[in-house]
Symmetry: C2
Subunit: 357 residues, 2 copies
């Protein structure tokens, strides 16, 4: 399987072994410009996650892992134990950069739990951390392809699919989650058409998903988030697909703001709804979605819109900008993971699949 970025032969997030640092596609500039940023300071990586240079649950998990490797190389600790203490501080800073996504915490814990300070040199520890981060990145691509293969059977020839936010190669290291499933069905020869909802406020659908679909050649139309209900209720849509930033033990899905309303409209019209997530997104420690902290972002993201060069909102307006919402498990048809397609009752079936991971 070729990378979607064959033209620049790189992943969304990547460690540069020559320059010793993290490379990120600056997703804020797409689709106008394809630019790669380079970071050698782990504080800058935290900033890049917070400012959404990189976004998408799998992608920020791997970015944080490489960020932790940077922190290890930057640390001036003179014992392995002090290095470990420095890493704990850096990891906490990264966790707080985007509080909702589970992959971020999951990736950091995977690394911190994977190394052992005793009987190690600082140099060996640094290499071990980088190797763990690299393994996470490679695993992510492999898992995404596995999910795409498993999920593609859900898509029939001729399907029109509404897709929310961006869940493609840009949201992961490569390939993606929900968009990966759609792409796999397309590459297997099935005709699909995607209604790309623009995903206000940051417009990841209009900017990134449209751009990725264009690269791959999948036909699409952009719609406002508002319009999904119209297309669903007029029988023009066969499936709804999205990813998730966290899935609770009962199958509640915490995902980009607007997912709940989309899933509700699909459910009201008996259109199947699928969340596609690596099992690292599933947080069995949370009984339900209401327990997940919802990030409140800068109101400027809502207010900074322009049309024809003119600002849209009255001067002095205020806004509220929750970044995620909770889609209750009752609205989901199935959750697609690299370990299989999980159907209700999610409470029983999710635990089994994650435990088996």
């Amino acid at each position: 399987l070729e990378s979607i970025f064959w033209d620049i032969s790189m992943r969304t997030v990547e460690w540069d072994y020559d320059l010793a640092g993290v490379k990120l596609i600056d997703q804020r500039l797409l689709p106008g410009e394809l630019k790669v940023n380079f970071y050698q300071d782990h504080h800058q990586v935290v900033g890049a996650i917070r400012d959404m240079v990189v976004r998408g649950a799998p992608a920020i998990g791997v970015t944080a892992a490489f960020g932790l490797a940077l922190a290890a190389f930057q640390s001036s600790a003179d014992t392995p134990e002090r290095l470990m203490a420095d890493l704990q501080v850096s990891a906490q800073e990264m966790r707080e950069s985007r509080p909702t996504a589970h992959n971020l915490t999951w990736a950091l814990d995977r690394i911190l739990n994977g190394i052992e300070a005793s009987n190690q040199t600082i140099g060996k520890l640094r290499i071990a951390i980088l190797e763990l981060a690299q393994a996470l990145a490679d695993d992510d691509v492999r898992l995404n392809q596995q999910m795409a293969r498993l999920g593609a059977v859900l898509i029939a020839d001729g399907d029109t699919i509404i897709h929310h936010c961006n869940t493609g190669a840009l949201a992961a290291v490569d390939w993606g989650t929900a968009l990966g499933v759609i792409r796999m069905a397309f590459e297997q020869g099935r005709k699909v058409h995607v209604l790309v909802d623009e995903t206000r406020p940051r417009l990841q659908g209009a900017r990134l998903t449209a751009w990725e679909l264009k690269q791959v050649g999948i036909p699409y139309d952009i719609i406002t988030d508002n319009a999904a209900g119209y297309f669903l209720s007029t029988g023009q849509v066969q499936k709804v697909f999205f990813g998730a930033d966290r899935v609770a033990a009962n199958g509640d899905v915490v995902n980009k703001i607007g997912t709940y309303m989309l899933a509700l409209a699909a459910h009201d019209n008996h259109v199947p709804v699928y969340a596609v997530v690596p099992s690292s997104t599933i947080d069995l420690s949370l009984a339900n979605g209401r327990l997940v902290p919802i990030e409140q972002r800068n109101p400027a993201e809502v207010l900074d819109l322009e049309v024809a060069g003119q600002p849209v909102t009255p001067v002095g307006s205020t806004a509220r900008n929750p970044a995620f919402d909770i889609t209750p498990n009752r609205l989901l048809t199935a959750i697609v993971t690299e370990n299989g397609i999980i159907y209700p009752p999610f409470e029983q079936n999710l635990g089994r699949i994650v435990a088996g991971n």
Copy 2:
């Protein structure tokens, strides 16, 4: 009651008796600029409705009525019968400018049915048409104030209300429908807070409703349309209000795209949903909302978004842009009209209230 436009002492739509033509606030320029356009050609009035210089069901009804008066003055007919024939052609052109709104057809029919060619001079007919149009405009303000008084009882002190699109003074001749109800409750001394959904694609919420609320001094926050579900499901909203472009005999509401998803999310969280409409918006000839033609507008309205001076969508992207959707009657708590607040079963109760008009 003072007009919301006291500072410029004019209505959204008005006949200028000195210059003999129609004045419209150019709503495409708000909130950046408050500009009044003047029209002496009825074809230009059709263009102004189609291009949304003026929008809002009551406002375009009255605009079309004044447009018909212009057509009467412009006609070169030499007999009353030929004038009537010219008016039929002009009326048809106006009806087709926005196919979904019922008030447009209703207002034109009110005028065409209100005049009688026999035993009339052309000059007297022209005056009669203008007088009927002026009466429609004056009636609209009176009806809106009546609706606002009736509906205001639904709003409790401390309510946070989600409001969709624009239904204020700008959507009517003055005062408005749903926003008029909110304003009346506020002026009666109740504390209200409005979550203004921006209403993609044309952003009438972010542009116009926010501007009107600011004029009146009602506190508000702008939210993306996507975010309504979050606020509803976290118990932060007590009521949902919107207007309508057409209400079918069974109470199905055809309104600005996105209304259906908003009503669905409110209903899913047991938050009351109110449509506020003059009885002229109720079309008893249509059994249900599915029979209403849904206007498909220019995809450029979806694609022309910019952030920081940069276009958002990839070059060559296509879009679909339905302007309205259908909110099934089961999602509505009540419909507020100038003749009373109507509760289910709408099929029985709507007929009674409109018949009594």
